[in-house]
Every structure is written in C-alpha cells, then in structure tokens.
Symmetry: C2
Subunit: 303 residues, 2 copies
C-alpha cells in the first residue's frame, strides 16, 4: 500500500522530508549548463543531469522526491522527457516519487489524467490532485490508487497568500477548506493502511500553522503533504501541528531550500562538488531541524 | 485582442461553436487506425491524422477548436507531439485554438504553466485555468494574456454533476461560484475589448441553465466558454441564458457530439468519407440549432 510504504521509508530514514525537484532556470549551477549544453535544445539534458546529481546525493537521506511538472512542461517535449527519465531514475534509487501535477477535471478526462500519471507514460507512485470539480474529478484517481497501490494528495489548504480568497470563505460557520477536508477523509476511507493513514492524503500548506492544527483534528486518517517549508517562509515549529502524537502524519516538502541552497551562499558559479555538498548539507540540516521539533513534541517516538 | 478576434470570427462564421478535439480511443474510426498504425508507438500519428481530417472539415464552419490536453498527455510524449502539431495546424487554418489545460498553481509554478501554454512550446491562443488557489494562480496568466494578446477562461461553474459539492456551497447567502464570478470580473477588467467583453473569460457549464442566467448577470464583461452541450446532456435552449441580448457572450463546446457523431449512426467501422461527412453534418446541425435558439431570443441580431 502506498501510504504504508511511504511511512515505512520515513521511519527507516528518520526523515519526514520530500525533496522538490523543481529545476527553475535561475538555480541551475553554471557548471551543469556548461557541461550539458547552453542551447535551448539541450535543456532536457540539463534538467535530467541536474536531477541525477541531486538524486544521488539525497537518495540515502530522504524517503521521497516530488517533481513539479510545470517546470518540465514549460520546456515542452524535451522537458517532459527529462521528467520521465527523472521519475524512472528516482524509482531505481528506491525513492517514492510524487508527481506534483495538481490536475483536476471530470469523468473520462480525469481518467485520462489518472492513467497518464499513475499507470501510463508518466506513472509516479503518488500525485497531487485539485478537488475544485468535486468527486467526479477524484474518483478515477481513487480507482487507480486502489488497483495499483498508488497514492493521491488532494489540495485542501494551500500555502500561498491568496489561498484564503476561496479556501477560507465561510460556509455554515466553517471555512471551505474544512468542508474539503471532510470530503478527503471520506474519499480515503477505503484505503487506510497499517498506521491508520489512508493512501488518499491532503496538501496542507505549512504557512498556516493554526489551520494545520484544525485540519489535523478534522482529518485523523489523512496524511499531509506539506509545502511551504524554507523558501516559502514556514519554520519547523510552524509545521509541527501537521504531525500526530507519534511524530507521523506528514511529509514536508522543500525545494528551493535544498536544490537552491547554494544561491544564498555562493550563487550559481560553483563547482559540481560544491553543489553536491550544498544539496546534502541542506537536506541534513532540514532533517535535523524537523527531528528536533518532533522530538520535543511527539509523545510516542517512532523514529 | 484575443476576445475581439474570437467574437469577430464568431460573427463572420455565424457560429458560436467551438469543436472539442478530444480524441478518446473509443471514437477513432477504424480506417484511420488501420492506415496510420495499430501499434502503441504510432498513437501520436493516429491522433494527429484524426485531428487533421476533422480540422479540414470544420475550419470553414467554426471559429475555434478546443483541445483537451488530458487525452494527449495520457499517451505521453507521442501524444503531446500530436497535441503540438494539432495546435500548429489549427492556427494555420486560422482557427482560434483553446488549450483546455485547467492548470492551477502558484507564483513561479503558475508562471511556468502560463509560459508553456500561452507563449512557449504548447502556445495556444487561449487556455482554461483553475481558480482554486486564488489570485496568485491567475496573475501569471493575466500578465501573458496582456503581453501577447491571449485569453484565459477561468473555471467558475463546471458542467459535471459533482460540481455542486464545493462550487454551490453557500457563503454569505451566495453560492461559491458567484464569489468566483466576481473575482473573474475583477481579474478581467483591464482586458476589455471592443464588444464590452474581456479576454479573461469564464467556463460555465451548460447543464445548469438557471445558474448560467445568474452568472450572465453577475459577469457582464465576461465571455463564457460553455461545455456540456450534446453528449453531456444540455440542449440549445438550456444554454441560451449564457448569451446576451445581441446573441454574443458565449461560445459553446461540443466534442463527442461532433467528432463522435458516427458512433450513434454506424459505429467505428466506417470509411474516411463517411467520417468526414459525419463531422461536417454534426457541426452544421449544431450551428443551426444554436442559431435558431438565438434568433428567437436575441433582441439585436449581430449574425
């Protein structure tokens, strides 16, 4: 089962971190661009080689990676080839691979997306899904999660400032995101694994600690994928409310904070060795920060 | 300006129809599959040849096509190559091309999607966008719509049965979709063209005629992209409330009703000539039905 495998790996690595492989242009070290081509045609090769270096560094340290497909789609066919190759390579390195696709559509269209990203050409272990169109948009993902032991994280409360515009509107004395939360719990109830969590999870932004606490309560069987740590401003103590008393219940994403850590220190003109160290150090620092927070708070230690 | 060009073409062709190029497997005529390859590797060629036949038939009759990217993404790289080629060919035939991508993400990620689909490798004339994450997710699309005279249709009230689960929740005595509608009007206000409509439009399902009427009132400057006609059950009289008194204000999508019209008559085992006639006849019938409805209702005829 997806969620059990994810939790087992988190415990094994003592690390509830998922590294975001979001290769935005401005953070790619010059040495990789110089080696693999500065022409637009070679962008696929650059993205793939960059990811390979990162994966080699982080594979022993973290349970999972998350690929934001937009940063590959942006380069068209060549970018998506790199996306595909990266998924494959991360799987070979025994990382759990989450496709951050945020697709949301209905019936046969939702099914086409679910096939593409859970079973077919871009198959990941788990994906993110947008719930705006309701159950019709979720069902095909549930079906394939069941059939292939995969996972889906449903956007519930996102980390961006304007997420409040709709997600916090009050319906029957409760914000919209709580109504979504109840639905996510319902959608996930037939996919609950050994740790009490479902393979249908939720995306819950780390930038809203109070809301995270509320959602943790409202969704006792729902595992959280938590973006917003590091570069987006959330700190370790902000996200502790996403975890349960055992120190489980959430995996925290960092992207720029890890694969762009060199920018603050030295910029892009660095050696490959420097980049490798920077990625590894940032990953280890994040693990340390998270564990410190969790150890202070979790009543029952599972790590 | 995107919206003025779209409206001009609608008037010129006397046809507020957009044909959905949604090549689901089950509707592709056997003759095309036999000619261009039955192997999975040749799926890209099959999709592209199918679309080429359809476009050649409909280009003189309709102002626009809409491509549901999920049905290409589902086949991976080969499918997306066909998507790209189809966009190019439809533009050469002077059709307005709408990418039904329903992407929704934030800041730099939203920007990557906007570049991919309005400026870069998959550039269409307009796209559909999911508003769940608020203004942060819309802004990059607005920026590129301004810079390149493109358009975006924001999901406001979708045509599927479960759209009511969240979109109809009541906030301050008004359904959520109305709150979205007010935002869409606001987002579009700096992109209003000669006919009083903005290049930032809304997706409004044809299966909810009462709601369409309410939304038409709430969004006087917002052009509607209306799915759900034909196969999804909406009839011409259902969608009239999406139009204004001039008979403008909306473009109606039909996909299966046109490119799958042969299924009801004869099934998939048909000649290429039969398929061409079937596509053309279905398109002409839809135009006739829409115009009949509009002529009965529009006070000022623009067609």
């Amino acid at each position: 089962m997806f969620i059990d495998q994810l939790i087992k790996k988190i415990i094994e690595k003592r690390n509830p971190t998922v590294v975001g492989l979001d290769p935005q242009e401005y953070l790619i070290p010059q040495c990789i661009i110089k080696k693999y081509g500065e022409e637009i045609e070679s962008i696929g090769e650059v993205l793939w080689q960059l990811n390979k270096v990162i994966i080699d560094q982080i594979a022993p340290l973290v349970p999972a990676v998350k690929l934001q497909i937009a940063f590959y789609e942006r380069w068209g066919i060549e970018g998506l080839k790199a996306y595909q190759k990266t998924i494959q390579y991360a799987k070979e390195k025994e990382l759990i691979v989450i496709g951050d696709i945020k697709r949301g559509d209905i019936s046969s269209t939702a099914q086409a997306y679910a096939i593409a990203h859970l079973e077919g050409p871009f198959a990941c272990d788990g994906v993110t899904v947008n719930p705006f169109m309701g159950s019709d948009s979720i069902r095909p993902f549930l079906d394939l999660c069941k059939r292939h032991e995969k996972g889906s994280f449903i956007l519930t409360k996102t980390s961006n400032p304007s997420s409040k515009e709709f997600q916090n509107l009050v319906v029957e004395e409760k914000p919209l995101y709580l109504h979504i939360a109840y639905k996510v719990e319902e959608w996930g109830k037939s996919l609950i694994g050994d740790y009490g969590y479902s393979s249908i999870g939720a995306v819950v932004g780390a930038t809203h600690p109070k809301e995270a606490r509320e959602l943790r309560k409202a969704m006792p069987h729902t595992f959280f994928l938590v973006p917003g740590y590091g570069a987006q401003g959330a700190r370790a103590e902000d996200i502790l409310s996403c975890f349960d008393e055992r120190g489980l219940g959430a995996i925290v994403n960092s992207s720029r904070g890890i694969i762009g850590a060199h920018l603050k220190e030295k910029g892009r003109d660095i050696s490959l060795e420097y980049f490798k160290n920077s990625v590894r150090n940032a990953t280890e620092k994040m693990q340390k920060d998270l564990l410190k927070g969790l150890e202070r708070n979790a009543k029952y230690k599972v790590y």
